[in-house]
Amino acid sequence: MQRAGPPVLECTALRKRFGDLLAVDGVGFTIAGGETYGLLGPNGAGKTTTISMVCGLLERDGGTVTVAGRPMTTRSVEAKAAIGYIPQELAIYPDLTARENLAFFARLYGLPRAAVSTRVAEVLDVIGLADRAGDRASEFSGGMKRRLNIGIGLLHRPRLLVLDEPTAGVDPQSRNSILGSIEELSDSGMAVLYTTHYMEEAERLCDRVGIIDGGQLKAEGTRRELVALVGETDRVRLSAAGELEAGLAACLVLPSVREASRHDDGLDLLVDGAAAALPGLLAALGAAGVTVRSVDVAEPNLEAVFLHLTGRALRD
């Protein structure tokens, strides 16, 4: 759900160089309250460097960042107080209990001593660790540690929640729980900046998505707006046997076929107007000696958009 209102985060023309590598080049976007914005890109695209500059962890070489109307630098205190940062790696103290971890960060973020225990109890409820509050974090499962890691970012009720690939290495059940929590937070009016290289997560969570690759924001918009960039191209997956190489060549000469590649059990195609093109496509394959066992047609998604914009897959 996209929200209106003044932006909680505004960043323009962000630029960061590490030696010869221009890691981020001219990235800019805004996020409004209650809006979830996803930065979608493969590993090394510049996602973490971008959010490191947004959160004031890293000096930027160029550009501006404003959080809740306050300029962000590495020395900003007020701007940082408006952000809940949840790093990709688990950032908790294993020798402290869940309650001690939360209480420490609550006080570090300036919560009054009297309010700390109440707020810590609330967050323990939100992340489902109330019954394990007195246990050391080292005794937790991976999923519980992830939830504690997220809970720390929520303590001070930030205006902007920044999550750097929070589901990396998480089991499907915990992932679903984490995504559900983020949806609830967004619904409560919090602005969310979410980085991921999982297309499915971006499609599920994000009101708007910025596609980033090679340090540059290639495109941004709602899912509908981004898919429109690809046009009426559908993904067609064929399970087939026989002369697959000849079939591949036969497909590529058809005007409706944009791209074609082999997979273990058949062929993957990007086809303009699949519904209309499919009869001719099957006829060409049959003539090339390919026996088609099944056909799966998928509408364009962000994966296809990324492929369209960068010429390679998200997980390349």
């Binding site: 490191s52 959160c55 004031g56 962890l57 890293l58 590495t74 020395r75 900003s76 205190v77 007020e78 940082k80 107080a81 952000i83 940062y85 790093p87 790696e89 688990l90 950032a91 908790i92 103290y93 020798d95 402290l96 001690e100 420490f104 960060f105 006080r107 570090l108 973020y109 300036g110 720390i152």
Partner: protein
């Protein structure tokens, strides 16, 4: 400051749950101090007793003087346990069988020979298995012979200058009784040296202090490795608060361990640290110096593991050179001078001044030296620490 205190409080809570910190800070130094004190007490405190045999075949005044005035006095002081042998052969046998550390043989005619100015011999037979006892026996005999020669020279000089001298024995007695014109007393060593228990308590305390303080500052590298540092950097606090918290942790751990060790070694080992105000000044300066040195080393390392190795090497080298295990000041020369390049030597020197009975102001030079160490190393460390909180 509030954020620094929060971070230090969190670190201290973690360290208290980590038994290794308590082991390094208190248990190991206390145990080693106890072991060293118990095993080396006799050697370093001067209460060792040498066993000697004496065969007096002369029985004249010179032999009597050696037996009664020299060996007798040492025996009364508890430094010598004397066995009287009836013959030279028996004394030799006692030494050869290692029943004694050395045997003195005063041959018949010794006193007559000395009185008449003829050559005389005082034999010392050392045990092959007790070289130190034999060396000490040789020194005792040398001292006595030197005294005899001095008297003989005085008598000879008197006779040569005044032909009227007739009573040589009275002259010799007068010469022997003449006070020495110059007497050397090593007052400085007596005043500045700690007793065995205090020395090892202080030595182990300052040696392990350098390992203890590293738990604070090195945790910055641990936090960097574990990712929690970025969470601290993202928090609305100054980066200097993070560094301040870590330094505060080092200082608090070091000071707590030192106070615990001072109290426990006083109660259990009988260590006498001296005037409390002076001890407090020495402890504070020592902890600051250790924190500065270890912080500087931590800034050179890229990982906690690297820092741990480098700090261990530095702590060991400085501890050995600084005299934490043995009093290098006694060795003298270049080593004693080099030891002054370590905070350990100044720490022990400061406590030594207190052991001499002086008031707390006596520690000020040592405290000043340690504060200089703290200022130089800590200052450079602070200049370099900033890079440790950069992603």
């Amino acid at each position: 400051m509030r954020a620094a205190l929060l971070i230090a409080g969190k670190d201290l809570r973690e360290r208290l749950r980590d038994r290794s910190a308590i082991l390094i800070a208190v248990v190991v130094p206390l145990a080693l101090a106890a072991i060293f004190s118990l095993t080396l007490h006799d050697v370093t405190s001067g209460s060792i007793t040498f066993e000697y045999a004496l065969a007096d075949e002369d029985a004249g005044p010179v032999a009597t003087a050696f037996r009664e005035d020299v060996l007798g006095e040492l025996e009364r002081d508890g430094l010598v346990d004397l066995t009287v042998a009836s013959t030279a052969a028996e004394a030799r046998t006692l030494a050869e069988r290692d029943a004694v550390g050395a045997a003195f043989v005063l041959p018949a005619g010794l006193s007559a020979a000395v009185a008449s100015g003829r050559p005389a011999t005082l034999s010392v037979i050392g045990s092959a298995d007790a070289p130190i006892a034999a060396q000490v026996a040789g020194s005792i005999a040398d001292g006595f012979v030197a005294e005899l020669n001095a008297v003989r020279l005085a008598v000879a000089t008197a006779i040569a200058s005044d032909g009227g001298v007739t009573d040589r024995a009275a002259l010799a007695a007068a010469a022997a009784a003449t006070p020495r014109p110059i007497e050397i007393r090593d007052v400085s060593v007596e005043r500045r040296e700690l007793d065995t228990e205090t020395f090892y308590a202080a030595g182990m305390a300052v040696f392990f202090l350098f390992f203890t303080v590293q738990f604070g500052i090195t945790s910055l590298l641990d936090e960097r490795r574990d990712g929690t540092l970025w969470r601290l950097v993202a928090a609305p606090i100054a980066r200097s608060s993070i560094l301040g918290g870590k330094l505060l942790t080092s200082f608090a751990l070091g000071l707590a361990s030192m106070v615990v060790l001072v109290v426990t070694t006083s109660l259990t080992l009988g260590a006498e640290w001296g005037d409390p105000a002076g001890v407090a000044l020495v402890l504070l300066a020592g902890v600051l110096a250790a924190t500065g040195v270890m912080a500087l080393i931590a800034t050179i390392a890229k990982t906690a593991e690297q820092a741990g190795y480098a700090q261990a090497v530095a702590a060991l080298t400085l501890g050995l050179l600084g005299g934490a295990f043995f009093p290098v000041a006694r060795v003298g020369g270049a080593i004693a001078t080099l030891s002054l390049l370590t905070p350990h030597a100044w720490f022990l020197r400061g406590l030594g001044e207190l052991a001499g009975g002086d008031g707390p102001w006596a520690v000020l030079p040592a405290v000043g030296a340690m504060l200089a160490f703290a200022a130089v190393t800590g200052g450079v460390a602070l200049l370099r620490l900033g890079r440790m909180v950069e992603p």
